[in-house]
């Protein structure tokens, strides 16, 4: 890996708190193709980290490895300093695209309760008072009390996302990971979810890792980012990572970083400055930098 690509060493972690998640040298090969190559980063408590990359950059694979649903070809994952167990109560997870049918007989409250005991056998008819209190508390924390007794399938996309976040948080994890939580949300819902995630990170003192293809909505709340392209990762603050030299090296193709008002656009630039062999490497891998969505 090039020296240009910043990666987290122990020295770069802010403060003395132990990492809630430590990913070191993770490589994943699927039938001979490297989906992730030597990815390393650490997450500190109370920090919100964005995992940015276009479709096919390896975001979902990285999440599957962190969740223990897929074994890395090389590298290690430590959660709170311990090797990750298959069912890790330390990790709360909000998957991408949960299809909630309006017919489903599940209230928002039931979905949050399943976050506490959905992995247990039996009917769970006798919930303790403190369990019920915990569910109420979480519904309140994500501002979902108003629709707690509505069917989840009838809620709006943003409301469903908040319920799923409460589901993930109710068991008091140390790390919350969300796979594209902003996809398919309108601007207002997007703003609500982003504000909520910022608040949760601050109030609960947990690490939050959010994948997204566009970093802009997350800029106001994120502390650091992991930028994935072609299976490789650059890690650090926005100022450290989102620079033309770092991202060009990551993509293997010249990219420009434009700042328009408070938005950052990463665009494929003219690539005369790179040797011919590198010019089309990025697009050949199907992971060329894309023009960020522009919304007035």
């Amino acid at each position: 890996m090039s020296a240009l690509v910043p990666s987290d060493g122990a020295a770069t972690l802010d403060g003395e708190a132990p990492a809630t998640l430590e990913v070191s040298g993770v490589t994943v090969s699927v039938s001979g193709r490297e989906v992730l190559r030597d990815v390393s980063f650490r997450l500190a408590p109370g920090q919100l980290t964005a995992l940015i990359g276009s479709n096919g950059a390896g975001k979902t694979t990285l999440f599957r490895v962190i969740l223990g649903l897929q074994a890395p070809t090389a590298g290690t994952i430590l959660v709170d300093g311990h090797p990750r167990a298959r069912r890790n109560p330390m990790i709360g997870y909000v998957p991408q695209r949960v299809f909630l049918d309006p017919d489903m007989p599940l209230r928002a409250r039931d979905v949050v309760s399943l976050g506490l005991d959905g992995h247990r056998l039996g009917l769970g008819l006798r919930r303790h008072a403190d369990q019920r209190r915990r569910v109420e508390e979480m519904l309140g924390a994500v501002d979902a009390l108003r629709f707690a007794d509505s069917r989840v399938g009838n809620l709006s996309g943003g409301e469903q996302q908040r319920v799923l976040i409460a589901h993930a948080l109710v068991s008091r994890p140390r790390l919350l990971i969300l796979d594209e939580p902003l996809a398919n949300l309108d601007l207002r819902a997007e703003r609500e979810v982003v504000d909520l995630l910022g608040r949760i990170t601050r109030d609960q003192g947990i690490s939050v890792l959010i994948s997204a293809h566009d970093m802009n909505p997350l800029l106001p709340v994120m502390h650091r980012l992991v930028y994935l392209a072609r299976g490789r990762a650059a890690t650090g603050t926005v100022e450290e990572v989102v620079r033309p030299e770092v991202l060009s090296d990551l993509y293997g193709q010249h990219v420009d970083v434009l700042r328009v008002h408070d938005r950052i656009l990463v665009v494929a630039g003219a690539d005369e400055r790179l040797p011919a062999g590198l010019r089309h490497a990025g697009s050949a891998a199907g992971a060329a930098p894309h023009t960020e969505r522009w919304e007035p």
Binding site: L106, H119, G122, L123, F147, D149, S150, N154
Partner: protein
């Protein structure tokens, strides 16, 4: 007393076949309704329907061998359920194709076996019995087996209830929580196999779908609580089975006089009627609640 005798024709409560029919219908409907709730939740109505219909192959084979068709239904349904799990087809389109192919092949074999049943032996009503059921012909000797099977199926539902809900919500989410998703699916498919076998024994292999999908669809319209949906679906099924049995007994006095209407038809008719009725209830409730929640939550029903 007048009202009672107007509903229950003479001899209803003394008739042995009626007792057997009431018990068999209740067990089958209760189990099928409860299990069917998860079939609907998983969006696998077609696979559930196919399991029931392909079970006709086993039922007709069992009759050819002089056995109670129940054991034939069960054998085939378990095999089909196992095959669905072994194939593990996650993509809905591919799953529909595979299900359709198995369904076609299975019914083809059933057609052959039923032909042999009706031509080779004295059981001339075999085709009707296997495909459309004959509740009043359920023998007393089959009842203990039916009750035991129903108990096993319900036990699976109770044991894996929360796991099934979480898996239906999102298999990814369940897997991340350490839920053995494939094992949970297998438990569901086993309870489904038992449920459709019981339903096939009472209303026939073809009409098993009606008991599997109708009561849950009705219950899902009436409640938004998962536990109530499962329980309600089972009870709606039982109500339909009993109402159908009573009507079938009474129908001896309906035109054309002297011949009873088939209970399977009447049960399915009640199931469908209840479903239509639940739609009306849903609309009335929706209208009553709509003004209370302006704009924000679209039609928070039930």
């Amino acid at each position: 007393m007048g009202a009672v005798s107007a509903i229950f024709a003479a001899g209803f409560f003394q008739n042995g076949s009626v007792h057997a029919a009431l018990l068999a219908g209740a067990v089958a409907a209760l189990v099928t309704g409860a299990v069917g709730t998860f079939t609907v939740l998983r969006g696998q109505s077609f696979a559930g329907h196919a399991t029931g219909e392909v079970a006709a192959t086993g039922g007709s084979a069992a009759m050819l061998g002089g056995l109670n068709p129940l054991w034939g239904y069960l054998g085939i349904a378990v095999i089909v359920a196992g095959a669905i799990e072994a194939l593990g087809v996650q993509r809905p389109r591919a799953r529909d194709l595979a299900t359709g192919l198995v369904l076609g092949a299975g019914l083809g074999i059933a057609g052959l076996l039923l032909y042999l049943d009706t031509t080779g032996t004295s059981t001339s009503g075999a085709a009707v019995t296997v495909l459309f059921g004959s509740l009043f012909a359920v023998t007393r000797s089959a009842l203990p087996g039916m009750v035991a099977l129903g108990g096993v199926s319900l036990a699976l539902v109770v044991l894996t209830y929360r796991l099934q809900l979480l898996t239906a919500l999102s298999p990814d989410l369940a897997a991340a929580r350490g839920v053995p998703v494939r094992l949970v699916s297998l438990a569901y498919l086993l309870s489904l196999a038992v449920a459709v076998s019981l339903a096939a024994e009472t209303v026939g292999a073809v009409l098993a779908t009606a008991l599997l999908i109708g009561p849950p669809a009705t219950a899902l319209r009436l409640t938004k609580r998962p536990g109530l949906a499962v329980l309600g679906s089972g009870l709606i099924g039982v109500a339909a089975a009993w109402a159908g049995t009573v009507l079938a007994y009474d129908s001896y006095y309906w035109p054309p006089a002297g011949r009873s209407w088939p209970p399977s038809f009447l049960i399915v008719a009640v199931v469908f009627g209840l479903y239509l009725g639940s739609g009306a209830v849903q609309r009335v409730r929706g209208r009553r609640r709509a003004p209370l929640a302006p704009g924000a939550v679209p039609a928070a029903t039930a």
